[in-house]
Amino acid sequence: MTYALVSLSVPLFCALLLTLAGPKLDSRHAGQIAIVCSALSLVAAWFALMQMAELNQTILLELGGWESGLAIRLRLNPLSSLLLLFTAFMHVLIGVYAAFSRQGVSRDFWPLSSFLHGSLAALWLSADLFNLYITLELLGLTAVAMVALAGKKAYKPAANYLILSLVASLFYLLGVALIYGRYGSLDVVLLSLQTQSDLLTRIALLIMTAGLMLKAALWPLHLWLPAAHANAPTAVSALLSGLVVKGPLFILFLLWSEVAPVDLAQQIGPVLAIAGMIALVAGGLSAMRSPYIKTLVAYSTVAQLGYAMMALGLLLTWQLPQMHVALWLFVIAHGLAKATLFLAAGEMQATLGTKRISGLRGATQTVPVAMFAFAVAGGSLIGLPPSGGFLAKWVLLQPLLSEPQNWPWAFGVLLGTLVSAAYIFRVVAISFDRARINPPDIRPDRVGHWLALLPALMVWGMALTGDWLIQLLAGSSV
């Protein structure tokens, strides 16, 4: 647990120091400090994960040493330690990109990114409904502030994002208040022993679900996402799509797989799963129609979250721990792939001077590395073997295929695969157009392009640890 707490507090300290340091610290040094802190946090998270892999059990920590119920409880299990590691890793990756690519970021990026890191770490570790509310708010405010980093044109999307985010948090908070009113407890573990499927609990859970789905941009509450994610600076978009939307998803998962009584969970399960299937197709079709690169990538987040939602819904319906593995594999694979997609999209936009997909004609020649990165990451979204996306899809498919009555769900997955292939290769095919090449405005930033490729290689590298990851996650099912 100590390692996890270190992994959590280092980025928070870093954020405070960077705010304290003020204008004297220039962007470069601030970046170096932030990256070093993320890396330290990464090391700590690695030790925490190793400890978990060895113990393979859940550690609960009552903060302040007070008895359970009175204290806020933190919880470390293989899942939360893996997410800690993933968060730190993404921050290091994107931090390095932000520091060394020509696109760069303003000085204010660094404290905000550290705040984001800290709040996500706090979220993964928390097992207290109200504490989760605060982490959710921290996450939301950080995300909004980071969107606004893109400058004046992003203020309006950022403001809309903030208002929606606040509404979502209030929905969640109202649900927490009702739950507390009903059961007199905020602790996830205690609540899981108490909850009953009465009307009030049902209402509270539904309100919270609506709020969380809005925050996580789950279909049909996803409409805010493309504007917010497509308008943010490149590095920020990568963090937002790769990490931020996963926070509320995590809470949703806790809520239904632990807090809610089993019969309620089984009732909501099919609803979530169907919504996920619709998200897969609807999000994919929107991505296919989008004329802009970044909007396409943003819509693909909506679509890909459909897989996660489907896994969650089926996990609840059948109470199958295997789905839990699929859910989190999707989250991690999507995070890495999406980081590359946004970074590559941003780099290509900057180099080619266009936001339109049609401007990518000839990109395989003009910006080969970035385009290759885009295609490789896209392959994981489609779920081509042996990428991380494939691992997740494989695990998801197994229970769907083993019983003939579940085959319609598998058909949904097949449909999702085809739609994602369609929008990814829409971009890739245009980039091979040699007849009407769109010449670059500036010389490509080699460092930036290669750094954009890195997460994509990682997601394909997940294959090497596939068996291990699946065992690890299967061990932490609740």
Partner: protein, 504 residues
């Protein structure tokens, strides 16, 4: 990863790496560094041929080549060199040599050659990996990699027509890949993914999951049928002919379509097994499908006026011979199917080389323009004739051997109507190939002269790098026919495979 990495487990990996590493290095080679690129290419090929030779010797002595890596639960990545994989690997390695030389000549002076050869090597690696795949999951992995690495080659020219063809190609092959994935995942969900076994591994579970097995078979055959160009999934192939000639030659005549056919062989023989496939009544529909494809594609070929498109439809028809032989589910037909994998490859690659030579040298793309070609380009025309006659089934060229075995196989399993189909197909082959030969040898050259005439007055009738590979494969097509009786001929090797496959 297995702790003991002996040479027998390393060899399959090395065979893949011998083209993968040069491929990656070629990507990093600057465009103008022609020599460096050529050296990389040739080094890779030579190393690969040596390694394949080693493995050939090993397998004929009964050595086991197996490499395993953890991947999915109960489905590791397995590379396994057995007799059947070697049949395919040897074919693709030798043809890789010929095609690379051809491509160097063909693409001389054109842009983006590093990209081209990089992807070309990746394709060969994927093909070899697919041949070495020791279970279905590994097969799927390389099958998809093959799709991905061929796509840039199909759209290499970057023209609107190429892009259109590329999109069609992707739509078909990725769709097929998704179906294949579903089928493999379904089988895995039922009984996990063990290694390929001669005779299959399904028989013992057949009572519990017959519906699941049938659905999985349909999904997998549909997925593989896309690449094997079974109707109605074949229409990507003629469109993909916009690609440069070496791509059409190696990939569409050999690697890609054969990957599909090879997959069908694996599924029927090494996953389901002949007995289980017959019990589940799966082979008969496949047989009808293959027969229909043969006839339909031959008729379509007859209608084509573009040489490459005619050859493409001929490929569709000829690859179905393999499926047909598999679906007949008898040992003699199996020999015919497996040997045709090699024979069709040699002959078809010859034909495509020659078609490319005609286009490059004289700008000839249409059948009508072939009049009198034999006078200007006698060597190429001769090679073309060998390929075409072989396709029709004229002895002693390779095609005759495979057709004979297929016919005998049909009679052996008591399906005499198949012989009629074979004969009909042979007649149709003759109908669409003989006019080409007639025009080439006996037609009159155009009075106005050729549309263009490159390499005129040089030592050879065309660039030597274009001519030599065509002659090389033509000679090979004759040799494997003539020496079919030897143990190291494709036929001898196929009999070895089948004897292991059908041993009860």
């Amino acid at each position: 990863m297995s702790a003991l990495l002996t040479w027998t487990s390393a060899l399959p990996v090395l065979i893949i790496l011998s083209s993968l590493i040069p491929g990656l290095l070629i990507f990093a080679t600057p465009e103008h560094a022609r020599t460096r690129r050529t050296v990389l290419n040739l080094t890779g090929i030579v190393v690969k041929l040596i390694l394949v030779g080693l493995m050939l010797r090993g397998v004929s002595q009964g050595l086991e080549f197996r490499f395993e890596l953890n991947f999915l639960p109960l489905a590791p990545l397995v590379l396994h060199g057995d007799a059947l994989s070697l049949q395919f690997i040897t074919l693709s390695s030798i043809l890789w040599l010929a095609t690379t030389i051809y491509a160097i000549g063909y693409l001389e002076g054109s842009p983006l050659r590093s990209r081209f050869f990089g992807y070309f090597s990746l394709c060969v690696s994927a093909t070899v990996g697919l041949a070495l795949a020791g279970n279905l999951v590994t097969f799927l992995l390389f099958y998809e990699l093959l799709t991905l690495s061929t796509f840039p080659l199909v759209v290499h020219r970057g023209t609107p027509a190429a892009l259109r063809a590329g999109r069609v190609y992707l739509a078909y092959t990725l769709g097929g890949g998704a179906l294949l994935l579903m089928g493999i995942a379904l089988l895995h969900a039922l009984i996990a993914t063990p290694d390929f076994v001669p005779g299959g591994y399904l028989l013992q579970h057949i009572d519990n999951y017959s519906l699941g097995f049938q659905v999985a078979f349909v999904l997998m055959i549909a997925g593989l049928g896309v690449k094997a160009a079974l109707i109605p999934l074949h229409s990507w192939l003629p469109q993909a002919m916009v690609a440069p000639a070496p791509v059409s030659a190696l990939l569409h005549a050999v690697a890609v379509v054969k990957a599909g056919a090879f997959g069908i062989i694996r599924v029927v023989y090494d996953v389901y097994g002949v007995e289980a496939s017959t019990l589940l009544s799966l082979t008969q529909p496949l047989l009808w499908l293959a027969a229909a494809t043969m006839i339909y594609a031959s008729v379509r070929a007859l209608q084509q006026q573009d040489i490459k498109r005619r050859l493409a439809f001929s490929t569709v028809s000829q690859v179905s011979y393999i499926t047909l032989g598999v679906a007949l589910a008898g040992p003699v037909a199996a020999v015919g199917a497996i040997v045709h994998l090699v024979h069709q490859g040699l002959m078809k690659v010859t034909l495509f080389f020659c078609a490319g030579n005609f286009a490059e040298t004289l700008g000839i793309h249409k059948v009508q323009e072939m009049d009198g070609l034999g006078k200007r380009m006698p060597w190429t025309m001769a090679a073309f004739s060998v390929g075409a006659l072989g396709m029709i089934g004229v002895p002693p060229i390779a095609g005759f051997i495979s057709k004979m075995y297929l016919g005998m196989g049909a009679l052996e399993v008591d399906q005499p109507w198949v012989v009629l189909v074979l004969a009909g197909s042979a007649l149709l082959n003759a109908a669409y190939f003989l006019p080409l030969l007639y025009r080439g040898w006996f037609g009159k050259p155009p009075a106005k002269g050729w549309k263009e005439d490159n390499f005129y007055g040089q030592r050879f009738e065309t660039h030597w790098m274009l001519l030599i590979p065509a002659l090389f494969t033509a000679v090979l097509s004759i040799l494997v026919g003539v020496f079919a009786g030897s143990i190291f001929s494709p036929l001898g090797w196929s009999e070895l495979i089948v004897s292991r496959e059908f041993v009860q």
